[in-house]
């Protein structure tokens, strides 16, 4: 056994499916299918045709240090399977929550394999079938899963060529690949299909020198717009989400929740609930739940539980007082970036502009609430979960519920929206605990009220900026401190000699006693808040300098990529320079997230009587390197614009201490059809840059973009999000 084979075996042992194979245990149909895939493969000695291949120096960096678990497998079989009939299955530990990866990853796999796109399907988020993955967040699927996934396909294709060379008796360098088959160059009647080579088995041969990935210029499938592959299932009701999975004998659970965060359960009288027909009550270490054969039956039974709570001390914290509280309670500061001599830069500046910006708590509000279904068969726990990180759920269940990780399988059906909110997976532990206690499969699906109450909100935040300009409109210094939002997107990219950026703290959760409830990652975490503050302050300086906001940015910028992106937006819009407020209602903002650069221009109309803001047109220029699926990219961009309207204009959680006041759509306002602006996306051609993120970047601009447009329309400078009609009206200059 060579080192590579030893490592493969080690990895195999470390995965549940691999361990199952090695242990030769009885298998479920799914596992049997997987075993067939793994076992009985082609064990053929191999002489490498190195002229066909080139070393991939990045390989080691891509897959990271050798650890037996929680890393990407090195065997390409973990990523793909080719059936005898030619059907190809790709496996990813990512999940499909609407972002379209089942389409874009299928494009990558088909492209790199030279297989017809329609023969490829994806299996996502099943911890027994798919390669390990940290989680679907940070716009990382294309950027970081894409390269090893493509590399697996490239290696598989190269091995198939070697196998075909033996099958056809033709040297490998005289063979080409196309449409899922290997063909003899110049005599294409001599061919062998991939499926005939694999016979549906695991491919045992591997290459020590990995082939290079296909060049962008050779792409036939990647880079072409593709419609979503899951649309037909989703328009017919066939698409299954976690709450749609049905098992024989399953019960639906409703879990007792506290009235406010910080309340402690002192007693729960479950007598009446226990007496109700068909109701089971589970009380276990603070978890009180009622189980019933119907979800509404469980909901009714929960109302029969009389609970006593010890409430936390009365709190004066509200959405209006929270910012100073956060400023006072969060001490842990990180210098994100600095340069020059800030004190000297400030001392030499005559025009110093100091501004404080505020942001509120924002909810995720996925249309699908958190759900999980847990089933225990013997010593094995299977959980269907609406989650963004199935492998994290597996490990969490192993720790908290007490099953070894290899005895836990997490299956992720379609997820009805995530946006960072489904990285918090408490419902999975509840379902697993209840299934064990009840001895039957148990589903936990949150009500909308629970969904709001238990959310990990985007944190409220305060940003203090002091900056300066000289007489020629050049930035002289930049002193930036962000409190509570987090550091992502805080480092400024303008050309300023003296600068410092501090994040207090660097993440989006605070120490005990700071936030009155849970906070967490929300689509492009921290960057929405930071970009709102930075791009507003830039506009304030541009106005103080009497300069057009785009010209001011271009003057104070040397980053070539940002310059190009901003110019692309201005050109596509047909920008005519004028200092703000020009009364045209035009705003501009730019920024970077997930490796992608974005710049946007918007036109708004402000109703001065009510303060209501109507966003009429938004244009986003986006430089994301190689574009995998231009159609999917535009959809994500449009989604960013629409969702961004919410945090910019209306979304803010109201609360009193740990009491959440907005628990349904009658009080918490997300964007609606009447708010749809004209949306244009401009994708920059940048094919010498590998693919970057697409799910988050455009949303970061929406706060600053709209704030700047409101200023341009009215002269009112909004320093706090969301920019509600009341706040806009209050900021309007007196007539």
């Amino acid at each position: 056994m060579n080192d590579y084979e030893k490592l493969s075996l080690e990895i195999l042992r470390s995965t549940p499916a691999g361990a199952a194979m090695l242990a030769d245990r009885p298998a479920s149909p799914e596992r049997r299918r997987f075993l067939q895939m793994l076992s009985g493969g082609l064990l053929i000695g191999v002489t490498l045709n190195t002229s066909l291949l080139r070393a991939d120096a990045e390989e080691a960096a891509t897959v990271g240090p050798r650890r037996p678990r929680n890393e990407l497998p090195k065997d390409f079989n973990a990523f793909l399977h080719i059936a005898e009939d030619g059907k190809i299955t790709g496996y990813t530990g990512k999940i499909e929550m609407g972002q379209g990866i089942n389409t874009s990853l299928a494009q990558m796999l088909a492209e790199e394999l030279d297989a017809p796109y329609d023969t490829v399907r994806m299996v996502a988020g099943d911890t027994d079938l798919c390669p390990w993955d940290a989680g679907t967040w940070g716009s990382m699927t294309t950027r970081f899963f894409g390269p090893p996934f493509r590399a697996a396909a490239a290696e598989a294709k190269a091995v198939l060529v070697l196998l075909a060379a033996e099958a056809l008796g033709v040297p490998a360098d005289q063979l080409i690949t196309r449409d899922g088959a290997v063909l003899v160059r110049g005599d294409e009647s001599r061919r062998v299909a991939y499926g005939a080579l694999t016979k549906g088995q695991r491919i045992e041969r591997h290459l020590e020198v990995k082939p290079t990935l296909k060049d962008v210029a050779a792409f036939k499938i990647v880079g072409k717009p593709q419609l979503r592959r899951d649309a037909r299932d989703k328009v017919t009701g066939r698409a299954h989400y976690t709450g749609d999975v049905r098992l024989p004998g399953m019960l639906y659970a409703k879990v007792l929740r506290p009235p406010v965060h910080g309340a402690k359960l002192t007693s729960a009288d479950t007598t009446r609930a226990k007496a109700a027909a068909g109701v089971r009550v589970i009380e276990q270490d603070g978890l009180v739940a009622v189980l019933h054969a119907t979800p509404d039956g469980a909901e009714e039974a929960l109302a029969l539980v009389k609970a006593q709570w010890e409430l936390p001390p009365a709190s004066t914290l509200t959405e209006d007082t929270i910012h100073d509280h956060l400023d006072a309670t969060i001490k842990d500061a990180k210098v994100v970036d600095s340069g020059g001599d800030l004190a000297a830069g400030r001392a030499a500046t005559k025009r110093v502009i100091e501004t404080t910006f505020l942001d509120g708590y924002v909810a995720h509000v996925c249309m699908e609430t958190h759900a999980a279904l847990a089933q225990i068969e013997g010593d094995k726990l299977t959980v269907w979960a609406s989650t963004q990180n199935p492998f994290g759920v597996r490990d969490m269940l192993a720790r908290t519920v007490g099953f070894p990780p290899e005895k836990v399988r997490v299956i992720t059906p379609f997820v009805g929206g995530g946006f960072g909110g489904k990285t918090s997976n408490g419902q999975c532990a509840e379902a697993a605990r209840l299934a064990r206690a009840a001895g039957v499969p148990v589903q936990v699906m949150r009500s909308r009220e629970e969904e709001f109450f238990l959310d990990t909100f985007r944190p409220a935040a305060k940003i203090k900026i002091a900056s300066g300009i000289d007489d020629a409109g050049a930035m002289t210094f930049w002193d930036y401190e962000v409190i509570a939002a987090g550091e992502r997107g805080s480092a400024q990219f303008y050309s300023v000699p003296h600068h410092r950026t501090v994040a207090r703290p660097s993440g989006w959760t605070g120490p005990a006693g700071s936030h009155p409830f849970a906070t967490g990652a929300w689509r492009a975490p921290a960057n929405n808040t930071n970009t709102f503050a930075r791009e507003s302050q830039i506009d304030i300086m541009a106005a103080a300098a009497g300069m057009d906001p785009i010209e001011f940015r271009l003057k104070n910028m040397t980053d070539a990529r940002m310059l190009r992106t901003l110019r692309a937006a201005a050109d596509a819009w047909g920008w005519k320079p004028a200092p703000a407020p020009s009364r045209r209602g035009l705003g501009v903002a730019c920024g970077a997230d997930a490796g992608t650069y974005v710049a946007a221009i918007a036109e708004v109309e402000v109703d001065k009587a009510t303060g209501a803001v109507k966003v009429k047109r938004v244009l986003v220029a986006q430089d994301m390197g190689v574009v995998i699926n231009p159609q999917g990219t535009l959809i994500q961009l449009e989604g960013c614009v629409m969702m961004g309207l919410g945090y910019a204009l209306s979304e803010e959680m109201h609360f009193k201490g740990g009491e959440i006041l907005d628990t349904n759509f009658n009080r918490y306002a997300i964007p609606r059809f009447s708010q749809v602006p004209k949306i244009e996306g401009v994708l920059l051609d940048h094919n010498d840059l590998p693919p970057q993120g697409g799910g988050e970047p455009a949303i970061i601009l929406m706060g600053g973009l709209i704030a700047n447009a409101i200023h341009d329309a009215t002269g009112a400078r909004l320093l706090r999000m969301p920019m509600t009609p009341a706040r806009v009206k209050a900021a309007l200059p007196r007539a």
Partner: protein
């Protein structure tokens, strides 16, 4: 108390023993195993659970099951006739008018009601008709495009190409 409840569901007669005060949403999803109708707010505020009752969109999370006795209920599963997609379903596919897809059944059935009331609905009228249906992914512009295409298809007009 459980009672025998008979109605027409997706073109087929059905009878279930249920408490007529239960909400139709849960009877459909649990007792009748039709999970295409989704729960999202439970208060009639988002439109995700929309079904057709005698061809009129209704929010099944607010609707007593007993109220559909003798009526015709259509869920998203019954919107496809003999393997043929309804023009609205086809238009949603053509325009990629969805992302996570969770609100999609409710969007399609609500749009059906909008076009049934007004087969020549303008884009503004479509916006008004869809205003109480929520989508979090931001598929709104494409949903509007799709409904316009379906409107034209249903009227026998040639359709504009998808964006």
């Amino acid at each position: 108390m459980p009672e025998k409840l008979s109605f027409t569901l997706n073109g087929q007669p059905v009878s279930v023993e249920v408490d007529g005060d239960r909400k139709l949403l849960w009877v459909l999803r649990t007792d009748l195993a039709l999970t295409g109708t989704k729960y999202s707010c439970g208060k009639g505020l988002c439109g995700t659970c929309t079904v057709l009752v005698d061809n009129v969109p209704q929010r099944s999370c607010m609707l007593r099951a007993g109220s559909v006795r003798g009526k015709e209920v259509t869920t998203i599963e019954g919107f496809e006739k003999d393997g043929e997609l309804h023009p609205l379903q086809k238009a949603f596919i053509d325009h990629d008018a969805l992302q996570c897809g969770f609100c999609t059944p409710g969007m399609i059935l609500t749009a059906h009601g909008v076009l049934r009331r007004n087969p020549a609905a303008t884009r503004e009228q479509i916006v008004q008709g869809m205003e109480r249906n929520l989508c979090r992914c931001g598929a709104h512009p494409r949903i509007l495009d799709a409904i316009e295409q379906a409107r034209d298809t249903l009227a026998g007009k040639p359709t504009a190409p998808a964006r």
